[in-house]
């Protein structure tokens, strides 16, 4: 079967995933601050105003109406909690936590309620909700709008966490997340929204918990997350000019983790660099390193290297922010240390 593809942006791919799932399943609803925008303002009641602060959910309200595309007050605890309650009673809500940095005001509802209900209730409850949230530095948005923080969520039993790096993966993973019966954190990197790529029409699913080899290579494995996949690919391209062939593994899912993908790549290359934009302490990168030493020790011919953000908040000034974000140069330097 030939499936038609078009070039879509990461933003459009996410929008399309939401649209297709809302068409397919009337229990899917969208809620969050300004996801339509302008609620009750008469002249935009039908088409919405913003469609999210960066336009990701634009025009969904005109197809699905205000009953299913719900602008919320700036009450993350209330509406994230309402998503939990709606999920446990039969809807499939997709809630938008505008920036992941805002988790502090609603964390109880995510990790004490949404993540733990099923377990505490002895398996009687299902919480099929998705929390879409923006991550990442590079926008000059400073300390409270630029973090990644996905490691916090990957740490929590009961939650799944995915972080797509391409439009194709964004669409397929979001559809999977909406159909999943567990609560899924869906991390969208704000610097990727305008990135374009081939995206098939119609619906398709990328299984949660499956990594993707974005580039084949035999000399070193570079495991990367979200936007860092592109940094890793750029580094790999430059290394290739020097005869070093890196294999780039896009984790895609942070919880569960595709351990096999990491370990089998490591078995092939025997060297590992992890690139992660999150803070390093207790991070996904550190977890991958632990996995390598625990289950892949015999494969390792060199120490595992981590290329991460520093252990600081995200700074504001461009010079500082550029220093904060891992670069291809830092990845190359790390690779050169062990190859």
């Amino acid at each position: 079967m030939v499936v038609a593809t078009r070039v879509l942006s990461y933003r459009q791919a996410i929008n399309e995933a939401l649209r297709l799932e809302m068409r397919r399943d009337p229990t899917v609803i969208l809620m969050g601050e300004d996801v339509a925008g302008g609620a009750t303002v008469q002249h935009i009641e039908q088409e919405g105003a913003w469609g999210g602060p960066l336009g990701v959910t634009k025009s969904l309200v005109s197809e699905f109406g205000r009953q299913r595309v719900l602008d919320t007050p700036i009450s993350e605890a209330a509406f994230i909690g309402a998503a939990v309650g709606a999920a446990v009673t039969g809807l499939r809500p997709v809630a938008e936590l505008m920036f992941v940095d805002f988790f502090g005001v609603c964390m109880d509802q995510i990790f004490n309620q949404g993540a733990k209900l099923r377990y505490m209730f002895g398996g009687k409850a299902k919480v099929p909700m998705v929390i879409r949230t923006m991550i990442g530095a590079g926008f000059g948005a400073a300390g409270q709008h630029s973090g990644c923080h996905y490691s916090v969520f990957a740490h929590m039993p009961g939650l799944k966490a995915v972080a797509p790096a391409t439009p194709y993966d964004a669409k397929g993973l979001l559809i999977a997340a909406i159909r999943d019966d567990d609560p899924v954190m869906f991390f969208e990197h704000k610097m990727l929204y305008d990135m374009t790529g081939e995206v098939p029409e119609g619906d398709y699913v990328i299984p949660i918990g499956k990594a993707d080899i974005k580039r084949q290579g035999n000399d070193v494995t570079i495991v990367a997350i979200s936007r860092m996949v592109h940094i890793a690919l750029e580094a790999a391209k430059r290394l290739s000019a020097d005869g070093i062939e890196a294999e780039v593994v896009d984790l895609r899912s942070l919880s569960p983790l595709d351990e096999d993908a990491v370990l089998s790549s490591l078995a092939k290359t025997r060297r590992l660099v992890v690139v992660d934009e999150d803070n390093p302490r207790c991070s996904v990168a550190a977890d991958i390193a632990a996995l390598a030493v625990d289950k892949g020790f015999d494969y390792l011919d060199a120490p595992v290297k981590l290329v991460t953000a520093p252990h600081t908040p995200v700074p504001f000034s461009p010079s500082l922010e550029q220093y904060y974000i891992p670069t291809p140069e830092r990845v190359i330097a790390a690779v050169r240390e062990i190859v």
Partner: protein
């Protein structure tokens, strides 16, 4: 307000069952048979029962850390509840929740909650489900005077009001948040009036009088079912035990506690129905006997049930997840 005879019997049976359950749990806890800790509902029975009398299994409630009464009023099986408190495999949550997370989604009981103020947003979600799917289900959010000071409670009342959700907020004001008097922790100790800030009716109800609760809750729930939006009921009552079992209750005087007992909800019910000739003394006593039997059976069931196999620790975390990633690495 007409209350059919069968419903009167149900009201009494449920209140008596809650009381007997809690008194027995206090004993079993004191005897060291229960792990963890428990918060008992005795004294507040009229609220849970007066409210839940208007609900079906399809309606939802969210509860508090003091949730046994809500469970029983909502029809959760008492044997499975007792087994849960004993940490047994036959518990309603398979021994994974315990007293503080006791729940039965099939009965519309969305869980006791260890987080004060954890429930109100979830109740909004259940209400949102009903509104989105166009059903006539309602969600009742029980919360205490302590939770009245949580941001989630205020946010949830606001959300329920702007979306006109079928949610009834029932504040069980038992005068103390743990050991702290509500007159201290409330800047304006008048929780019912807070409804005005969220454009919903706010009323004060005698939470020791099941007929008052029944009538007020009936109106509020009917209003919610009609799609007219949320209501806040502040029900004042007293908890007979401490905040948790083991609490020395040094913040209340014996006189104060004696005054509470003067307004005992179960005795008040008896007086009313007997003086009105609605139910007979023999009938009520027979219910008491049945209830005692049921509690004895529940304890026997709990005691004779097995503990969950240790490796069950790993199940029920997710609907689907690689098992090897849930287990210890070594």
């Amino acid at each position: 307000m007409e209350i059919p005879r069968e419903r009167l019997r149900w009201i009494y049976e449920r209140m008596a069952l809650i009381r007997a359950f809690e008194d027995r749990v206090a004993q079993e806890f004191a005897a060291g048979k229960l792990p963890g800790f428990v918060h008992l509902y005795a004294g507040e029975e009229a609220i849970a029962v007066g409210v839940c009398a208007h609900l079906t299994d399809r309606d939802y409630i969210t509860s508090t850390h003091r949730g046994h009464g809500h469970c029983i009023a909502k029809g959760v099986d008492v044997k499975a509840m007792m087994a849960e408190l004993f940490g047994k495999a036959t518990g309603v949550c398979k021994g994974k929740g315990g007293s503080m997370h006791i729940a039965d989604v099939d009965k519309g009981m969305l869980g006791a909650n260890g987080i004060v103020g954890g429930g109100p947003p979830i109740a909004c979600g259940a209400g949102l489900m009903a509104k989105t799917l166009g059903t006539d289900q309602v969600a009742v959010c029980f919360f205490g005077d302590g939770a009245a000071e949580q941001g989630t409670t205020h946010e949830a009342m606001n959300l329920a009001a702007i979306w006109k959700l079928p949610v009834v907020f029932v504040c069980e004001n038992n005068l103390y948040a743990e050991s702290t008097p509500w007159t201290y922790h409330c800047a304006a100790p008048d929780i019912a009036s807070r409804a005005a800030a969220y454009d919903m009716p706010g009323i004060l109800v005698d939470g020791t009088d099941v007929f008052a609760v029944y009538e007020a809750a009936g109106e509020a729930i009917a209003r919610a079912r009609r799609g007219e939006g949320p209501t806040l009921l502040e029900c004042r009552a007293f908890r007979y035990y401490g905040h948790f079992q083991g609490d020395a209750v040094s913040y209340r005087t014996p006189e104060e506690e004696a005054a509470y007992r003067q307004r005992d909800p179960i005795q008040r019910f008896r007086q009313t129905v007997l003086s009105q000739g609605l139910l007979s003394e023999d009938e009520l006593d027979a219910i008491d006997t049945t209830v005692q039997h049921e509690i004895n059976e529940a304890v026997r069931f709990a005691e004779s049930s097995p503990l969950p196999p240790p490796e069950d620790c790993l199940t029920d975390v997710y609907v689907s997840y690689p098992v090897e990633q849930l287990a210890f690495r070594h």
